[in-house]
Symmetry: C2
Subunit: 374 residues, 2 copies
């Protein structure tokens, strides 16, 4: 192709790129679908929503707080929210009372359905930015579970350079989503791959595999049947599958288990009773739910009363974290930690403001991963 | 754990599984989100939709044909569709005129947004069933494009056993989505991994990599600028990235390019002019759009008039297919093939009923992949 043509093309491309990103008022969210002009994020992180719905009678956006949109003469509904905090937030569009995903947004499995999410840029977000460092990859694996009698998916992160030498073995972090989410949560909402890529590039974390299973079982999640079913799934299916198909170190010392919210409870159930399998545990925005899980909690405290020394000796890190007082899990977590103190169970506590949300959990991974496999 | 407890758990699990799949009227769609009871597929492939929307005035489902749902006293709207054809179909829920994704369904990037899709089971669907054969995997790769000046994603399928020997090199099929779709199309809607897993298991296709790029460029897709931009993206970025990071054979004889609809036009533009790079081309439900693309079409026919022998010699397979007369690309495709006949360009034509839809394109891949790299 002639150089002149190349030059023209470059100009056309640049025009296209500038047109997409330039807006005197703000920037379109990175989570918007291609070419969607709204939601638009203002410099002070208020967000403008605009939805065409001439025949609707009420349009709302729920971002934790609900906003009523206002209709103009052309049938466009709009609203500007309060300033929204850093990072990823689920949100819901209501059209005449029906909760749906915003057609202008990418969708993320959360809240038990494909939900909208908005990514609010912020200065401290460099740790999950996609930048020029060596990148690992996330792969989608199908496996057959004898526990559920069905095919299931897991997502797995392999670090940069994985597979280049068949002799190199890797430690494994198993990390679990929350209620209403699935194996995609840490990959998509969590940006676990980018967090690890960046930590590994800065030598702040060891190269590791990160396995993101589907912790939803046919029986519901918070009762003992659900917890037990997932424990079985991990031990009899997921861990053997990973150790068979990947170059893993395959020892307790090189195995971590963590989870957020419901996944934190799975971690307490599958992890604290099996310190022979996991030397590192991470419990993010979680803790036994009282009084609903009193029996489960008391059984665990009783176990720890008898086995505290072994648990302390086995575990190199028990990392417990919360999104401060706005976190719905805060009180349960604190109550559990008071029990741990009484029982002399060693743990590390970390708090980051933001409530029960993904910005907190991304930050938890940022602080947990560097502690692993040292 | 005691055996008695194990037994009880098994019973609980079985009850859960049976409860989910058993319905005297029909089966819930595999594309439904977890626990959604509708859409429900009846034995004759009519589909029952049911949406709770007490405050809406009109609720419709668009599956190519639009269906008005009817409201009952409790505020639930429902309708039963005509019998729907095999496989995957996009659909839209309208709430008081606003087109949204059905919250009961998984979402798929298509129609330029996250859209609902429904998977209709059918007897011939075994070729994309998830079954007990060796499975490859799909990985999500980030790469930096100097063409767009941005980070982009591609999905890549690696076949079973890939990476076990660093000496084994693989041929590569590059396969492109249609307009309004992206790199996820062939992975999610297309089930390209399962089609290849099953073909490879039956030794009907050679083990190959399947690269699924994002063919959307900042300039729109159907004009020459968009086509040229994607050609540049392929040649200067995607192909070097794949050859650098994977064990590829890296010759024209071991490289194929295919695409559906808009991706078919990209294939005509990037492929037919570069038979030094690709020995196999697949053009699914496509063809130059006349009269809009007259200039592009005539330029290509002129090129073929001068270079027909070279193109015929270089290409081992030029596979052109259509979804029969219901396919919106049918006339354009036939007009192009008449030109190919006139210019004595060799090709293989394949037709499968179903119009301009994913069941046709899955079937195209089923018939194209076995022809490759022989």
């Amino acid at each position: 192709m002639a150089n002149k043509k190349n030059g023209l093309l470059l100009v056309m491309l640049l025009i296209g790129i500038v047109a997409r990103s330039q807006n005197p008022q703000g920037v379109v969210a990175a989570t918007n679908i291609r070419n969607a002009k709204y939601p638009l994020i203002l410099p002070d992180h208020r967000v403008v929503f605009s939805i065409r719905a001439p025949d609707a009678r009420r349009v709302e956006i729920d971002l934790g707080k609900k906003y009523d949109l206002v209709k103009d003469a052309a049938g466009n509904w709009s609203a500007t929210t309060d300033s929204i905090g850093e990072g990823f937030h689920y949100y819901t569009l209501f059209i005449d009372g029906v909760a749906v995903a915003d057609p202008a947004s990418e969708s993320f499995y959360g809240m038990g359905r494909m939900a909208s999410g908005i990514e609010i840029p912020f200065k401290g977000g460099d740790y999950y930015a996609l930048k020029d460092v060596p990148h690992g990859e996330i792969s989608i694996k199908h496996y057959y579970s004898a526990v559920t009698g069905s095919w299931r998916n897991l997502y797995i992160y392999t670090p940069p350079g994985y597979g280049q030498s068949s002799n190199q073995k890797y430690p494994v972090l198993y990390i679990l989503h929350g209620g209403g989410e699935d194996e995609r949560g840490w990959a998509m909402q969590g940006k676990a791959d980018l967090i690890l890529d960046n930590l590994i590039a800065e030598k702040k974390a060891k190269p590791m595999l990160v396995v993101m299973p589907d912790a939803n079982m046919p029986v519901a999640g918070f009762g003992e049947q659900g917890l037990k079913a997932f424990e079985q799934e991990m031990e009899s299916t997921i861990m053997p599958f990973v150790d068979k198909n990947y170059n893993t170190e395959n020892t307790a010392k090189s195995r971590a288990l963590a989870g957020l919210s419901m996944g934190g409870i799975n971690t307490l159930y599958t992890g604290l009773y099996h310190t022979n399998l996991f030397s590192y545990l991470g419990v993010f925005s979680s803790g036994w739910i009282v009084p609903a899980q009193n029996e489960l909690a008391n059984a665990q405290y009783q176990f720890l009363a008898s086995n505290g020394k072994k648990v302390n000796d086995d575990l190199r890190v028990l990392f417990v974290s919360d999104g401060d007082k706005d976190d719905i899990a805060y009180r349960n977590c604190k109550a559990m930690l008071a029990k741990f103190d009484l029982l002399k169970i060693n743990y590390t506590y970390y708090e980051y403001p933001g409530g029960h949300t993904w910005p907190v959990w991304r930050n938890d991974l940022l602080h947990f991963a560097p502690l692993l496999f040292r």
